[in-house]
Every structure is written in structure tokens, then in C-alpha cells.
């Protein structure tokens, strides 16, 4: 009833882009849904993904810590070597300056610097002597640019000239004489002041050792690469291990699921293999026990049902033979009733008449027990419904004539062929037409046939007593009587409409009833053109156009539609809450269904105050295997990705200078 109708609309002018976009959107959406689907379905995928994410985070953390540690250690080692070296060197320079007889000229300064540098040979630190005002007093080549010496460091040295200071820096070289340019290098600068006595005064120079950290950085690079490679390998291996381990668990679970699926599909002898003594084997054993007991119970039920059917068959046989004898005896008596005195004569007549009724009742009971046992077979052939309607109405004309009514037929000119079981549908139609004549109070009965592509509908309309509110659903109940006190005139068995409903159901069709008190009733039989097809809507409305109460249509709530593909046994005259519908369908119990709907009918009548009532039987055999999937809440993977710290570049020389006072 709530089956949504999707309305798609192409964009107007200039809608091509919008269309293209929406197409792309649809594709993206579809791909996303696919991903979500796989994600939700595969436990293995989720476990592997979670393992990958978590182990990546752990490895990243570990890597960062390790690299920092190593960097710190290496730099500390460098510093430990460099500082004493510089201390010694600066001391020596001061010595040399002190030893100078006069003010140091350029050559002296270069001499000092080169002496210092020469101590270490090739590849040693660069030594630079700067003037406090910024000029270069002397330097080794290649000459580091001024920017190599952080202003901060120089300021410190000038503030506290008695201390040695150091700092990390980036060594920039000035172009050499040949114009060759050395690349910048990470480095460390250690410096202090030296004083040259110039007479009474002093000339102050700053002497710096510039240590290259190039090698250290290379070492760090290697370490880093090794760490990250190892980390990545570990992550991948962990992922693979997680995949393998989950597979070990998931494979038996999947196997169990597929076996359970086959079991529920009816292969009751399916069992899981029990291997070992672990939890999986416990599951397998429990499953097998459950399957075994289910199989046993099902077998018992089947046996019970078989016995029941056998019983019904035996009863029929046992009843029929004596009934035949009685019937024949009664006939013999009836034939010769003229020889009897009037009392016996009447008795013979009564006997004869009641035997007819008894026989009809017996045969109806047997028919309905066949439906109950599920052994009713549909012998469908392509039949023109018009022919059936003609033959039924012809045979009913006599009865109609006696009642003073006429059966009118409104039939389309073209054939209305449907795949039906002629015997059953003829029985249904005869039943409906006779009912209409009997309850038509001598007014005419109209039989309408309407067909569309999917279905053929036959509506039988009478203008007699009609139905009271709520009765429309009751008419199909077995042995239901509109008015128990009312005299029975034609001696129906009380099972006719129940059998008709079952016949319609067997065709996958609908049998619906509508009526209003004093306004007559309308019975609508809708059959699919092709046996077994679903009917979406009847070609003929259930509420007749000549209903006294026009509000009937809205009050009753048409059209009658299937509720959901699987939840089909539910039916109602009102658009029910889908969940309720599904529940009643799942319950599968016809009585429960009817009760639900009776109550529903009542509600509807109260709410609308409408006298007309209707009932629609969605006649589908309930599928016992129908499952109602509770929409799985998409449990979004809330494995919040731990944002691994942006790994900074350890090993790079920190750009803020760290001051270490000389001990």
C-alpha cells in the first residue's frame, strides 16, 4: 500500500548538464553503495582494514620516536666532539694573538685561521674570524656566507664574550674564485671571542668553527629509510596475517551460513562437518543438533499432515459408501412415494431433499479440506472469460426468473482470455451470481467483465440488502451467515464463498467484497491473465459507481495493492501501516490476519463514519520462508583514523638555536 512511485523528471532547457551531473552522481552513488555493501558484508575486510589502520598508527609512532632518539644521539655525539675541539682551537688562536708583537694584520689572521683549520686536515671544520661589526676578518676557503652565522648566536657572543656558544645552522658558501657554488649543508657553528692586544687597547674578533653535519644527515637518512621500510613491511605483514587469521574464522562461519541457507531452503539433511574440538566445532555440533531436531520435527509434522490427509481421504471414503446406500434407498422410497400415506410421503421427500444438502455439504467440506491440505491443483488453460460468464448466467437465468429478477451482462466486445482453471472459476462465478440473485430482493443483478493487459475482472453487482459495516470481510468466513436468524431459502452450504476465495487464491487472483446496507453489494473477482502473475490493480473498481454513498471510495481506501513482495498474506481495505502488514504477513496465520483486518475495518468505519465496507483479500499463498530484513543500520566504520603525527623531519638541523654554555 505504501509502495512508492518514483517520479523521474528530465530537466528542462539546459538540463543536459544537470542530467550529466546527475548521471555521474548516480554512478558515484552506486559505487559508494557497492563499497558500503561490501564493507557491511565482509567481516574479513573490516578486520584487515582495522588491523592495517591501527598497525600503521603504531608503526608511525614508533618510527617517529626512534628517529628522534637517533637524531638526538647522533647530534649530541657531534657536539661532544666539536665543543672541546673548538675550545682548544679558540684557546690556541688567543695564544697566537697574544704572542703577536703588534696589531694583527690580515696575513696574521689568515695564518691563525689556516693553522687552526690545518690541524684537522682535509674535510675538517671551516674556521672563520669575524669582526663584531660584521666584516670578515679571515676565513678558510670556501668561505661560508654571513648568513651561516645566526644573528642570535652572534648577539649572545657579544653579550657574554667570556662564553663559548654554539648553534645549528645551514651552511651557505660564497661562490669560490672559479665561480663554483657549493650546496648548502646542515651544520653546527661554535664560536667565541678572541682579543688581540693593540697597544693598550684590544681589537676584538669572533672566531667560529663551522662543522658540517652532512655526513650525520646522510646516516640519519639511511636510518630513516630503513625504519620506514621495516615499518611498512610490518604493517603489510600484519594486514596479511590479520587476513589469514580472520579467514580461518570466517571460512567456517561462511560455510555454516551457506549450510544453514541450504537447510532453510529445504535440504534438511544438510549438516556441518565437525573437525577438532575448538569453538567452530562446537558451533558445528550445536548447529547439527538443531538441524537434526528440526528435521525430526518437520518429518513428524509431515507425517502428521500425511496422516491427516489420509484420514480425510479415509473419512470421505467411509462416509461416501453408506451415503450412497442411503441415497439410493431414499431414491427408491422417493420414486414410490405415491403409494405411501401422506406422512410417510412427506418424510420421503424431506429425506431426499436433506440428502441433497448433506451431499453438497460433504463435497464442499472435502473440497475445502483439499485446500487446507495444500493438495488443490490448478489446471489452468486459456479461456475466454466471456464464454464462462455467458454459460454461468444462462444457467442461473431460471433461478433469477423465479426470483423476479434479471441477470444483465455488460461485456466487452473483444475476448478476455486468461489462464484459468475453468471448473474452479465457473464454480466461483456460479456461486457469486446465485448469491447475488438470492440476496438481490428481486432486483436485477449486473455482471460486468473488464479486462486490461494484466488482469481480467468480473464484478457481480446486486441491489439487495447489501452488507452491514464490517461484514464485507466476514462473508468469506466458513459457515458465516449474515443473519443467523434469517431463514435459509436455497440451502447453500455456507462454504461457497470460502471455497471461492480459495479458488481465486489458487489462481493468484483476488476476490473482494463490498456492500452497503440497503444499497446492495458488489463482489469483484480479479484474475491475472497469465497464471501466477501478480496483479497490481483490478481493472474494475471495487466500489461501484452507483454506490449510494459516494464517499465510499475515499473512505474505503482503494486501490488495493500488494503490500510487499514477500509480505503478501496481509490484506486490508485501508492503507495499513507497512510494519503491521509485514507482521501479519509474517505471522502467516489466516485467522490472525483476518482478525487484524476486522479490527481495522472497525477503525475505519468509526473514523469515516462511512456505512460502506469493503474487504480486499490479497490472495497469495504466504511464503513460509519469507524473511523480513530489518534494514541494517549502516554501522559506519567508526574506526576513526588516528591521525598519525605529521612526521617532521628529524635529522634536519633545528632552526632555533640551542644554547649550551660551556662548562
Amino acid at each position: 500500500m505504501t509502495s512508492g512511485v518514483s517520479v523521474e523528471r528530465a530537466g528542462g532547457p539546459g538540463g543536459r548538464l544537470a542530467r550529466a551531473l546527475s548521471t555521474a552522481g548516480v554512478h558515484v552513488l552506486r559505487a559508494w553503495r557497492r563499497v558500503v555493501y561490501v564493507w557491511q558484508r565482509s567481516l574479513q575486510l573490516r578486520v584487515v582494514a582495522a588491523t592495517l589502520t591501527l598497525s600503521f598508527a603504531v608503526v608511525a609512532l614508533l618510527g617517529i620516536t626512534l628517529t628522534r632518539q637517533i637524531t638526538d644521539d647522533l647530534l649530541k655525539q657531534q657536539l661532544d666532539t666539536a665543543v672541546p675541539y673548538a675550545v682548544a682551537g679558540i684557546g690556541q688562536a688567543q695564544q697566537q694573538l697574544n704572542n703577536l708583537a703588534d696589531e694583527p694584520d690580515h696575513a696574521d689572521r689568515v695564518q691563525i685561521v689556516e693553522d687552526l683549520a690545518a690541524q684537522d686536515g682535509e674535510g675538517g671544520p671551516a674556521v672563520v674570524m669575524l669582526r663584531p661589526d660584521g666584516g670578515t676578518a679571515a676565513t678558510t676557503t670556501p668561505q661560508p656566507a654571513d648568513s651561516t652565522f645566526p644573528a642570535d648566536l652572534r648577539a649572545r657572543i657579544q653579550e657574554e664574550p667570556d662564553q663559548l656558544w654554539w648553534a645549528y645552522t645551514t651552511i651557505e658558501f660564497l661562490p669560490g674564485l672559479g665561480g663554483e657554488q657549493l650546496e648548502n649543508q646542515p651544520g653546527m657553528v661554535v664560536g667565541g671571542q678572541v682579543r688581540a692586544p693593540v697597544g693598550a687597547a684590544e681589537e676584538i674578533f669572533e672566531l667560529y668553527y663551522v662543522f658540517s653535519l652532512e655526513e650525520t644527515e646522510q646516516t640519519l637518512g639511511i636510518v630513516r629509510t630503513a625504519l620506514w621500510t621495516a615499518g611498512l613491511l610490518v604493517v603489510l605483514l600484519l594486514g596479511a596475517i590479520a587476513g589469514l587469521v580472520t579467514r580461518q574464522v570466517v571460512t567456517p562461519v561462511r560455510m555454516a551460513a551457506s549450510i544453514a541457507g541450504r537447510f532453510s531452503a529445504g535440504r534438511l539433511s544438510e549438516r556441518m562437518t565437525v573437525r577438532g574440538k575448538d569453538d567452530m566445532s562446537k558451533l558445528a555440533m550445536s548447529f547439527n543438533q538443531m538441524a537434526g531436531s528440526l528435521q525430526k520435527q518437520i518429518a513428524e509434522l509431515e507425517e502428521l499432515s500425511r496422516i491427516q490427509q489420509q484420514f480425510a481421504s479415509d473419512v470421505s471414503h467411509e462416509l461416501r459408501t453408506p451415503l450412497t446406500t442411503v441415497r439410493m434407498a431414499a431414491d427408491v422410497l422417493h420414486e414410490s412415494r405415491e403409494d405411501f400415506d401422506p406422512v410417510v410421503q412427506r418424510a420421503a421427500e424431506l429425506l431426499q431433499a436433506q440428502l441433497d444438502r448433506f451431499e453438497a455439504l460433504l463435497s464442499d467440506l472435502l473440497e475445502i479440506s483439499r485446500f487446507d491440505a495444500g493438495v488443490a491443483v490448478l489446471n489452468a488453460e486459456s479461456v475466454d472469460m466471456r464464454d464462462l460468464v455467458y454459460s454461468v448466467t444462462d444457467s442461473c437465468n431460471q433461478l433469477a426468473g423465479r426470483r423476479g429478477s434479471e441477470v444483465r451482462i455488460e461485456i466487452p466486445a473483444e475476448p478476455c482470455v486468461a489462464e484459468i482453471d475453468e471448473r474452479r472459476i465457473e464454480r466461483v462465478l456460479r456461486n457469486l451470481v446465485i448469491n447475488a440473485i438470492e440476496h438481490g430482493e428481486g432486483r436485477d443483478v449486473v455482471v460486468r467483465v473488464v479486462a486490461n493487459d494484466q488482469a481480467v475482472a468480473v464484478g457481480i453487482r446486486d441491489y439487495g440488502v447489501g452488507l452491514k459495516p464490517g461484514e464485507a470481510s466476514l462473508v468469506f468466513h466458513r459457515f458465516w451467515r449474515a443473519d443467523p436468524a434469517r431463514a435459509r431459502t436455497t440451502g447453500g452450504t455456507g462454504l461457497g464463498l470460502a471455497i471461492s476465495l480459495e479458488d481465486a487464491r489458487l489462481h493468484g487472483g483476488w476476490l473482494q467484497a463490498w456492500g452497503e446496507p440497503g444499497g446492495g453489494s458488489h463482489f469483484l473477482l480479479t484474475l491475472p491473465r497469465t497464471a501466477g502473475d501478480d496483479i497490481v490493480a483490478s481493472p474494475l473498481p471495487l466500489i461501484p459507481h452507483d454506490a449510494m454513498d459516494d464517499s465510499g471510495l475515499s473512505g474505503v481506501g482503494s486501490p488495493y495493492q500488494r503490500v510487499a513482495d514477500d509480505a503478501t498474506d496481509g490484506w486490508s481495505a485501508e492503507p495499513l501501516d507497512l510494519t503491521e502488514e509485514v507482521m501479519s504477513g509474517a505471522a502467516g496465520a489466516a485467522n490472525a490476519d483476518r482478525d487484524t483486518t476486522d479490527a481495522d475495518d472497525g477503525d475505519q468505519d468509526e473514523s469515516t463514519g462511512d456505512a460502506a465496507t469493503a474487504a480486499a483479500f490479497d490472495v497469495d499463498v504466504p511464503d513460509p520462508h519469507a524473511t523480513f530484513e530489518v534494514a541494517d543500520e549502516a554501522t559506519a566504520p567508526d574506526a576513526a583514523e588516528p591521525d598519525p603525527d605529521e612526521p617532521d623531519t628529524p635529522g634536519d638541523v633545528p632552526d632555533d638555536s640551542v644554547e649550551v654554555r660551556r662548562a
Binding site: 481421504s313 470421505s316 459408501t321 450412497t324 446406500t325 441415497r327 439410493m328 434407498a329 431414491d331 427408491v332
Partner: protein
Amino acid sequence: MKGRVLIVDDDTALAEMLGIVLRNEGYETSVVTRGDDAVQTYREFKPDLVLLDLMLPGTDGIDVCKEIRAESGIPIVMLTAKSDTVDIVLGLEAGADDYVVKPFKPKELVARVRARLRRTDDPKPERLEIGELVIDVAGHSVKRNGTTISLTPLEFDLLTCLARKPWQVFSREELLERVWGYRHAADTRLVNVHVQRLRSKVEKDAENPEVIVTVRGVGYKAGPA
């Protein structure tokens, strides 16, 4: 005396009642209540028709039917309490000509018996040809290339009905009316089963019938002479 009817039914009350009704109609009757005695009584009584209940103590009704059919083609009408089981088809395949479902009305039974015993009093000499078969209606014989084929009266009637109007396709309902004497449409399985039985006797290859041709969706007709 219209004819002799053997009643085989284990229910003595019903058997007696059947006897009363049939005697009222002018038939001579004999009653057997056990399946094992049925064939012996049949041989002694030499009935014109057998009314046979399917559920019998001793020998099953189906077997009795086969045994009698093996000896002669006399009409056999089954009495059955089950209208929708395979029993009917089994009975028909065992050789029964017709069946009545309990509970039946006496008139219905008498009509069935009468239809099966009905014979054209003085058949005109008539010679029909169908396929390679030559039918002598008065002599009640069917020959292929001079060899006589033995048919039950019902099968003979069925064949004759088709052969008289080789240009006409008979629906199963028509055949039920003409051969079995049903006024209302009845169980068309009667026709199907008997056409199969007849074909097994008169066709050279029952898989590819030439004498009795099926017209799909309509019925049967006689093959070209």
C-alpha cells in the same frame, strides 16, 4: 431381461441396494463381496456388465479389472469414492470403461449402465476404412491387412465414431457425449486414457499415431484412409 450385471462391492448394504435398484430397472444381478471371488463368479455368471468397487478385500479392484479385461472386453464400470486421486486413471488404464463417483444418484448409475449396454439393435451393414484398418460395423470386427484386431465394445465404438466422419475433429467433450453417453461435460481423462489404449492396439507405432490423430487444443480425428 435387459441384461446381466455383476456387482463387485465389499459393502454388503450398498451391494444389496445396487441389486435392488438394478433389478427394478429390469437387470439380472449377482453380488460378490470379495476380490478373490470376483473373477470366478464372473466366469460362472457371464454378465453383460461389471460394476466394480476399487477398494476390495482380497484381490484389489484394479487387479480384478485387469483379470476380467484379459478374458473379455465386456463393459466394466468402476465405483469409486475418490474423485481426484490417481485411482481413477489407474482403473481406466487397467481397462475400466467408465466410472461413477460415490455418492451417486441411482439414476446416474442406471444411465451409465444403460449407456454401456446400449447396442444398436439392428446395425446396418456398414464398412468403414481408417488408415490401414477396415471396420465391419455390423460384424463388430476390425481388421488390418486381413488380421483381426480385438477391441472392447467401447474401443470399437470410439473407433467407429471417429471413422464415420473422418473429416471432423471431435473434441473430448463431443466424444464423451457420443461414445460414453454423458450429457454434461465430464472427466476428459476418460477420453485420453481410452484413446491411448485404443492406439496401443490399432497403431503400428503408438508414438506416431496415424489412425487416431491428435489435433492440438481441439481433440482427435481419424487419420486419412
